[in-house]
């Protein structure tokens, strides 16, 4: 999880909490960048990653299914295009390729989602 309280972070208001479907994701435009935001409601967790799937360079991760894998219940997202999966915590590709996606700090305040780039 990327909760953090460091004061050096610059937070951008992304959207309202209700804008992101429960146990799913949506994309927000922040400072010209496409950021995928995930509301992992059943775990009470929020994540943010790049929206671009590095496999075929498609802006699609926010439309992917989320879930978890393994004994550690690593939270993950699966790209809708070819089901490459990525850890929401570390951004590492979990389906055996050498891809890495960016993850961002995220926090919820007063019904709004904030992301730090």
């Amino acid at each position: 999880m990327n909760y953090t309280s460091e004061e050096t972070l610059v937070w951008h208001k992304a959207c309202a909490v209700d804008d992101i479907p429960a146990d799913g994701g949506a994309c927000a435009l922040i400072e010209g960048e496409q950021i995928a935001i995930y509301n992992f409601e059943r775990r009470g967790e929020w994540y943010a990653t790049q929206n671009l799937c590095p496999h075929r360079q498609q802006m699609a991760l926010s439309r992917g299914m989320i879930g978890s894998t393994g004994a550690s219940q690593e939270p993950k997202v699966a790209c809708p295009f070819h089901k490459k999966t990525f850890s929401l915590k570390t951004g590492a590709c979990l389906s055996g390729d050498d891809y890495q996606i960016k993850t961002y700090p995220i926090k919820i305040e007063e019904g709004f989602v904030f992301v730090s780039l």
Binding site: R43, M59, A60
Partner: protein, 835 residues
């Protein structure tokens, strides 16, 4: 102090060397610099011909440039090494980069051997080695009509396939020897292969010595030694390979008389600090022109550098491939014959199958053989040769299968010795795979991940699967195909449980029947079960985010992230007004339009935020969802039938509309396609559908479990001459039985193939009602039919659901700037995706 390694050449073997070194060199004791001549990093040259059947350069790529950087490897592309200074231990590249080495690895590969025929320099004459060659061929082929390939060997026939794929009107194969593939297969096999390839449209000329290539600037004809002339406007030379040993020669390294850098069994050249691997190396007086021995060479050198001890042994050159759709395999010693061995031959020219096995004189061991037309037994036979397995008393059973009620002959995968090599690309033994399975890596994906078996050419995948299942069975594990790590149930069990408990949402099912948070496998599987059971709106009750992407947005995601839209056009019947309405919508939203294979119209390039507006207009014009995005009934195709056709015996269009409207929106383990033909001429191609209906004088014949796709399969006759009502009744029962019992993402054809008792059992269930469930199936289907609603209509009228159709939640009117289009033939296409 880190040791410096320079790798010259970035082909498949050069890359494999880097990959293996990275894996072995865990404490980072090497610095690696790679020079490659081509503009791209290493790509899959083995499957080069798939470039013409739709694969892109990106698909063929093995690892992106980023991979090298991530692993600390310096990669110079488009920059071949031109000089080696062995005294200073440096190399110099074309662009002047000088790199110091402690060890130098030459992986320069090979070039096409071009015989000195006058005229080879003319336009339209190509070789077939690199993606650039293919791009040149592609450009030229657009204006070419007749093509030829010099070389009837393995590579030549691959090139011929490429010409067929490029759509040339005629493709000729010119071979100097009296038969095709002279190095791999015998005379009889060759004749059979030739007949088969000729039936596929190749024109084959044997015993032909090309003397001259004629034409002004560009090739116009080929002239042969026997006086014959052949008009062609395109020629591919694929007559063999020649090792790239130029820089080794200049550097004074020992090379073979006919080329190739001489190496010892540790792959060292005459300079012990310099290695040569792959097709540039002459090992055991031989050039190994296959990728598997090249990988083995890479492994040997990596072992040497990391203080291991391994030598390169003469490598088995057995090979199996699909040539223009025909299986060809050659293994062990394919040619040995009497008096040194006994030969068993099976030939069936009507089916195009030829099998030869060579057995030792004492009948104990398999020495080698040839398989054409059907190479399913290749892996087992090769293992028999390699491991000197004792043969069964009737060795012909190995290729013919056991006859006379006995168990299948030969030996199962588990009887192989532990050191039997299963995956030769990655050098993984049977023992290693069995150990991994016992350690819990008991799925194909897990095996691929933990030891890479099956990740190369993929040829061993069926064996790996058998090994997994057999090992688990041997451990007393009852092998069940459970959904995934979150649900320890088969789909059928889960279906029954969800029904009995009456669950309506994924979260309810997960809370009670599963564990963890779910994943991209169980979410759509459960979503499909819920839809098949209750037929409620799939986007309601929080089930939206468990749908696969296409179902979540009720449209088909396409290459640039935009969607395609398919309105239902039952039976393919449409009024002029509706055609106009589709045209107007397509114009308004700048969509690409295409007629689909299922007699519908697909509108491509819709931004996600336009989807509800597009559908609002389509619904207004009288359309409803076509469910092209769902694992659901797609289309019921029809021919015009007795309403217009002078041959038609029944009204196929009316019946197909009736069938399509009954089952529209029906969700199933996989998509469902259907068709109705108005007479036995079968213009609607009903026998290739999941259920297909053909009119007879007396009623309808119902066929089930057909399939096009990857593995075409004709549908089988379930019932004949039934009336309309009975036909619907049987379809109801058939579909419900399939929906309840099939595994996820299993089409009806595969389902039937796995169904014990096959079509006869299916007939017993559907027609004779041996399970006593017939009436229940019909009632359940009636409930689903009654519950049907057009899901797009529901979304269009529901502001909360509509809101989800945006690309940016915080900027709903902004479209994805990454969704790019290119013009093509007065319409648009998705911009090509990159890697």
């Amino acid at each position: 102090m880190k040791k410096k390694i320079v790798v010259v050449g970035n082909g498949m073997v050069g890359y494999k060397f880097c990959e293996k070194l990275v894996a072995k060199d865990t404490n980072g004791s090497f610095e690696v610099v790679v020079f490659g001549e081509e503009i791209r990093p290493a790509y899959d040259r083995v499957h080069l011909s798939s470039f013409f059947s739709g694969k892109t350069a990106a698909d063929l790529s093995i690892a992106p440039v980023q991979w090298y950087a991530d692993n600390g490897i310096v990669l110079h592309l488009s920059d071949p090494v031109v000089d080696i200074d062995r005294t200073a231990q440096t190399v110099r590249s074309h662009h002047g980069v000088v790199a110091q080495y402690d060890y130098l690895v030459l992986a320069t590969g090979s070039a096409a051997f071009v015989p000195p025929i006058p005229g080879v320099e003319k336009d339209g004459v190509f070789v077939y080695r690199t993606i650039e060659d293919l791009e040149l061929m592609q450009a030229h082929a657009q204006k070419a009509k007749k093509g030829a390939v010099i070389g009837g060997g393995l590579l030549g026939l691959e090139a011929a396939k490429a010409l067929l794929d490029l759509g040339l009107q005629e493709t000729h194969v010119i071979e100097f020897a009296p038969r095709l593939m002279p190095r791999q297969i015998d005379e009889a096999g060759s004749q059979l292969l030739q007949a088969k390839l000729e039936s596929l449209g190749l024109k084959i000329h044997l015993n032909k010595n090309t003397q001259q290539i004629e034409g002004e600037e560009a090739i116009s004809a080929m002239k042969f030694a026997d006086g014959m002339t052949l008009d062609v406007d395109m020629l591919v030379i694929s007559a063999g390979i020649k090792p790239r040993d130029e820089i080794a020669r200049v550097a004074g390294l020992e090379v073979g008389v006919r080329g190739g850098i001489v190496v010892n069994e540790r792959l060292q050249t005459s300079d012990p600090a310099i290695f040569a691997i792959g097709e540039c190396a002459l090992a055991h007086q031989m050039i190994y022109g296959l990728v598997a021995p090249g990988y083995e060479m890479a492994d040997v050198v990596v072992h040497f550098l990391t203080d291991g001890d391994k030598t390169f042994k003469p490598y088995d050159m057995s090979t199996k491939l699909k040539l223009i759709g025909v299986d060809v395999a050659s293994f062990g010693d394919p040619f040995v014959q009497e008096p040194h061995a006994k030969t068993i031959v099976y030939e069936n020219s009507s089916k195009g199958i030829y099998k030869r096995i060579n057995v030792s004189n004492d009948g104990k061991y398999l020495l080698g053989g040839i398989l054409i037309g059907d190479a399913e037994q290749y892996n087992m036979l090769l293992q028999n040769v390699k491991n000197k397995t004792l043969l069964p008393p009737d060795p012909e059973d190995l290729v013919l299968g056991a006859r006379g009620g006995k168990e299948e002959a030969g030996s199962g995968v588990l009887s192989l010795p532990d050191d039997a090599l299963i995956c030769s690309c990655e050098a993984i033994t049977k023992g290693a795979i069995v150990e991994e399975v016992k350690a819990g890596n008991n799925t194909l994906d897990a095996i691929k991940k933990c030891c890479k078996a099956g990740t190369g050419c993929g040829g061993c995948v069926p064996m790996v699967k058998d090994l997994i299942n057999e090992t688990m069975k041997a451990q007393g594990v009852y092998v069940r195909n459970v959904i995934c790590e979150h649900f320890d149930y088969t789909r059928q069990e889960l279906f029954d449980l969800i029904k009995i408990k009456g669950y309506k949402t994924y979260n309810e099912a997960l809370a009670d029947l599963g564990k963890g948070d779910g994943c991209e496998v169980c979410k759509p599987a459960v979503a499909s079960i819920l839809a098949s059971l209750w037929n409620e709106l799939i986007l309601a009750k929080g089930n939206d985010t468990v749908q696969d992407s296409n179902d979540r947005f009720l449209a088909n995601i396409q290459k640039n992230g935009t969607y395609s839209v398919v309105p239902r056009i039952p039976g393919g019947e449409i009024t002029p007004d509706k055609l106009i309405a589709i045209g107007q919508v397509a114009k308004k939203y700048s969509l690409y339009t295409k007629i689909t294979g299922g007699q519908r119209i697909d509108l491509f390039g819709a931004h996600v935020s336009d989807l509800p507006n597009i559908w609002e207009e389509l619904i207004e014009a009288g359309f409803e969802s076509g469910h092209a995005y769902g694992k659901a009934l797609r289309t019921v195709k029809s021919c015009v039938g007795s309403t217009w056709c002078r041959f038609g015996v029944q009204d196929a269009v009316s019946f197909s509309i009736q069938v399509e409207e009954r089952y529209r929106g029906l969700r199933a383990p996989h998509k469902l396609k259907s068709a109705v033909s108005g007479c036995t001429r079968e213009c609607a191609e009903a026998q290739s559908k999941d259920f297909g209906i053909i009119a007879t004088e007396k009623g309808w014949n119902l066929y089930v479990c057909g399939n096009g796709g990857v593995k075409p399969q004709h549908a089988l006759l379930l019932a004949s001459d039934v009336d309309t009502e009975t036909c619907i009744k049987y379809i109801d029962r058939f579909l419900m039985f399939y929906i309840k019992t099939a595994e996820p993402l299993t089409r009806t054809a595969t389902w039937l193939n796995k169904l014990e008792g096959g079509i006869n059992y299916l007939k017993a269930v559907v027609i004779d009602d041996v399970l006593g469930l017939g009436e229940q199936f019909e009632q359940e289907m009636d409930l689903l039919v009654e519950a049907y609603k057009c899901e797009w209509k529901e979304v269009v009228n529901n502001p909360a659901l509509r809101k989800r159709f945006t690309h940016f939640v915080n900027a709903p009117t902004v479209k994805d700037p990454y969704a790019k289009f290119e013009p093509m033939r007065d319409q648009i296409k998705a911009a090509e995706w990159t890697k």
